[in-house]
C-alpha cells in the first residue's frame, strides 16, 4: 500500500490499474480509494452515514487510520468497479467514458482481461490536433 500511495503522490496520478501476476487487470487503486480509507468505513457505504457532521478530529487521527493499511497488499483495497475500454471500442464511446470518469482509462483485452495500456484524454486531444 505504502508503495502504491507513493506512486500516486509522486506522479500525481488519479489512479493506477492493479494487475495480478499474469498481467490480468483485477482492480483500480487511486485517490478515491485512498480517501475512502481515511474515514470511518460506514460513512462511504450505501445507506450509511454520508455526512458525519458530529466527528471532531485532527491530523493525527487521519494518520492513525492510514497506518492501519500501510503494509497491506494493494490488491485488497483496489476498487472492483471501474470503467475500461477495449481496443475496438468506438472513439465517441471512449470520449464519453473519459467525460464521466474524469480519469485515465485502462485498455483491456476483451477476451483475456490482460491490461494492454492506458488511454488518457491528453492522448485523444493530441491526436485531434495533429
Amino acid at each position: 500500500m505504502g508503495e502504491a500511495i507513493g506512486i500516486l503522490v509522486a506522479r500525481r496520478f488519479r489512479s493506477v490499474p492493479v494487475v495480478d501476476d499474469a498481467g490480468k487487470m483485477i482492480g483500480q487503486f487511486g485517490v478515491h480509494a485512498l480517501l475512502r480509507m481515511m474515514v470511518p468505513r460506514i460513512a462511504t457505504e450505501r445507506l450509511g452515514l454520508p455526512h458525519l457532521p458530529f466527528v471532531q478530529d485532527d491530523l493525527e487521527d487521519l494518520r492513525r487510520r492510514l497506518r492501519r493499511f500501510w503494509d497491506k497488499p494493494v490488491g485488497e483495497y483496489a476498487e472492483r468497479d471501474y470503467f475500461v475500454v477495449h481496443p475496438d471500442t468506438p472513439l465517441t464511446k471512449t470520449v464519453l467514458s473519459l467525460y464521466h470518469t474524469h480519469d485515465n482509462l485502462p485498455v483491456v483485452d476483451r477476451k483475456t482481461g490482460q491490461l494492454l495500456g492506458i488511454i488518457s484524454y491528453w492522448d485523444i486531444v493530441q491526436r485531434l490536433l495533429n
Binding site: 468505513r41 457505504e45 450505501r46 445507506l47 457532521p53 458530529f54 466527528v55
Partner: protein
C-alpha cells in the same frame, strides 16, 4: 422457470382430480408443508363440501388449486431464491387467473388498514430520518455514559427498543447501526455484541405497541376490538421484563470484558451531537406530526378513525410541512423521493400474501385448519394459547413471520368463533400470537428483516456476522424470552 413448474404441477394435479372421483385428494407437491396432515385427514370431506366451487378453470377443485398455490408460494419464499414480493404477487395473480377467487374478492382480501398504516409510517420515517435525530440520540446517549463501552451498549439497546416500539424495526436499525459502527470503530472494540444487542432489542421493543412490528400491525388491523392502548397495556409489561432478562446473558458473555482506552473514549467524548441535527425546523415539524399521529392512534379508535387514516394523513401533512417555502419543482422532487423511500417490496409482499391467504380461506382450507386446532386441543383455550405462543415463536425463528401471522389471523378468528369465545377470553390467543411471532424473530439471523439488515451492514463494514454464531447466542435467549411470556400469559390471562 418456477412459473412453468407451478403451472405444470397445477395441471397435473388438476387433470388427475378431473379423472378420479374426489374422495382421495393427495396434495403431493406440498409434502413439506405443515398443513399436509390436516389435509390428509380432512381432505375428503372438505373436497366434497367445496367441490361445487365451479369457477376454477378446467373444473379443478378449488381447495386443491388454492392449497397447491399456497404451499408453493410459501416454499418458494422459504428457499429465498426469489424476491419474496415477486413470488407473492405472482401467486396472487395465479389465484385470480385460475379462478379460485375473482379480482373483487382479491381486493377485499387485502387488508388496506395494514397497507395504509405501513405506507404512512414509512413516509413519516422517510422525512424524519433526514433530520439526524437518531444520530443525535445515539451520540448523546454515548456521552451520557462517559463513552464506556458497556454503558454505550446498554444505552443504544434501550434507544433501539424505544424507537422500534414507535417506528418500524428495519428503519430503526438502519439509522442506529451506522452510528454504532462509527462509535465502535472509534473505541476500537468489536461491534458484534453491540449489533447483537440491537437486533434483539429492536424485535423485543417492537412487540410493545400496535405499530411496532408487522405482526402487531396485522393483528391490530384485522381484529377490530383490539385498540392501540390494549397493546401497550397488555404487552408493555412483559416486554420490559424480557428486556431486563436479556441484558444479563449479554453482560456475562461480553459486557464484563469490554474495555476501551482513555484516548479512544476521549475521542468519542469530543463528538458534537448537536452538529448531527441537520435541520432543526424540520425536526420540530417531525416531532409535532409524530406526536399528533401517536395521539391519533390512541384516541382515534373510539371515534372510528383507523390507524391507516391517521398514518397516511400524518404522512401527507408532514410532507407538505417539510416542503413549505420550496419551489414547486423541488416539492415534487422531494415528494417523489419520499415515496421512493417506502419499502415497496415489503408492501407488495403483504398485498400478495393477503390475496393468497384470501384464496385458501375462500377455498375452505383455513376452516379445516381451525377445526383441526380445535379438535387437537379439545377446545381448551389455555392449550390453544400456549401452543400458538410456542409454535409462532419456533416458526418465526425459521421463516418470515409475516406470512405465518397472515395465515394465523383468519384461522384463529374461526377457532374463536367455533368455540364461541367472548372478546375478553379471546385476548389471550392474540397476545400469544403477537408475542410468539415478534420475539421468535430473535431466534436466528433470518428470523426478522431487521436482523438481515444489521447483518448486511456488518458485512459491508468488514465485520461479518456468521449465521451459526448468531444462532448459538440468539436461539437460547429467544427460548428464554418465550418461557417468560409463557409464564406471563398463564398468570395474567389463563
Amino acid at each position: 422457470m418456477p412459473v412453468l413448474l407451478a403451472l405444470l404441477i397445477l395441471f397435473v394435479l388438476g387433470s388427475r382430480r378431473a379423472r378420479e372421483p374426489p374422495v382421495d385428494p393427495q396434495p403431493a407437491p406440498i409434502v413439506h408443508s405443515p398443513l399436509v396432515p390436516v389435509l390428509l385427514q380432512h381432505g375428503a370431506t372438505a373436497v366434497a363440501e367445496h367441490g361445487d366451487v365451479s369457477s376454477v378453470i378446467f373444473g379443478w377443485s378449488a381447495i386443491a388449486v388454492a392449497t397447491t398455490l399456497f404451499g408453493l408460494t410459501y416454499a418458494l419464499i422459504m428457499t429465498e431464491r426469489f424476491n419474496r414480493a415477486n413470488v407473492a404477487m405472482l401467486a396472487a395473480g395465479l389465484m385470480v387467473l385460475l379462478g379460485v377467487i375473482n379480482q373483487h374478492q382479491a381486493v377485499v382480501g387485502v387488508d388496506f388498514n395494514t397497507i395504509g398504516l405501513l405506507i404512512g409510517m414509512m413516509l413519516i420515517v422517510a422525512v424524519t430520518r433526514e433530520t439526524g435525530v437518531f444520530q443525535y440520540l445515539a451520540i448523546w446517549s454515548a456521552k451520557k455514559v462517559k463513552a464506556k463501552p458497556w454503558g454505550i451498549l446498554l444505552m443504544l439497546a434501550v434507544v433501539t427498543a424505544v424507537t422500534s416500539a414507535f417506528l418500524d424495526n428495519v428503519t430503526t436499525v438502519l439509522l442506529i447501526v451506522p452510528v454504532t459502527l462509527v462509535l465502535t470503530e472509534e473505541l476500537e472494540v468489536p461491534p458484534y455484541p453491540f449489533l447483537f444487542a440491537e437486533i434483539l432489542f429492536s424485535n423485543i421493543g417492537g412487540t410493545a405497541t400496535l405499530i411496532g412490528d408487522p405482526p402487531n400491525i396485522m393483528i391490530g388491523s384485522q381484529v377490530e376490538y383490539i385498540t392501540f392502548l390494549d397493546f401497550m397495556v397488555n404487552l408493555g409489561p412483559v416486554v420490559i421484563v424480557v428486556m431486563i432478562a436479556t441484558i444479563f446473558p449479554i453482560w456475562l458473555i461480553w459486557g464484563r470484558k469490554m474495555t476501551a482506552s482513555d484516548e479512544a473514549r476521549q475521542r468519542v467524548m469530543e463528538f458534537d451531537e448537536k452538529a448531527a441535527i441537520t435541520d432543526k425546523p424540520l425536526l420540530v415539524k417531525c416531532l409535532v406530526v409524530l406526536g399528533l399521529v401517536t395521539f391519533g392512534f390512541i384516541v382515534g379508535h373510539p371515534y372510528g378513525f383507523e390507524p391507516a387514516t391517521v398514518a397516511i394523513t400524518g404522512g401527507a401533512l408532514l410532507m407538505i410541512l417539510s416542503n413549505l417555502g420550496r419551489k414547486i419543482d423541488e416539492k415534487n422532487e422531494r415528494t417523489h423521493h419520499f415515496f421512493g423511500h417506502v419499502e415497496w417490496t415489503t408492501i407488495f409482499f403483504f398485498v400478495g400474501l393477503f390475496i393468497v391467504v384470501a384464496g385458501v380461506e375462500h377455498a375452505g382450507l383455513l376452516n379445516m385448519l381451525a377445526d383441526e386446532i380445535v379438535e387437537r386441543t379439545e377446545g381448551d383455550r389455555a392449550a390453544i394459547s400456549i401452543a400458538v405462543l410456542w409454535v409462532s415463536a419456533i416458526a418465526s425463528a425459521i421463516v418470515d413471520n409475516i406470512p405465518f401471522v397472515a395465515t394465523m389471523i383468519p384461522t384463529l378468528k374461526t377457532v374463536i368463533a367455533d368455540l364461541g369465545m367472548s372478546q375478553s377470553d379471546s385476548m389471550a390467543l392474540w397476545w400469544s400470537l403477537a408475542l410468539g411471532a415478534c420475539m421468535g424473530g430473535n431466534g436466528s439471523l433470518v428470523g426478522a428483516s431487521a436482523n438481515l439488515i444489521v447483518a448486511g451492514f456488518a458485512e459491508r463494514a468488514g465485520q461479518r456476522i456468521k449465521f451459526t454464531t448468531f444462532m448459538l447466542h440468539a436461539f437460547p435467549m429467544m427460548l428464554m424470552s418465550i418461557a417468560i411470556c409463557h409464564v406471563y400469559i398463564t398468570w395474567r390471562y389463563l
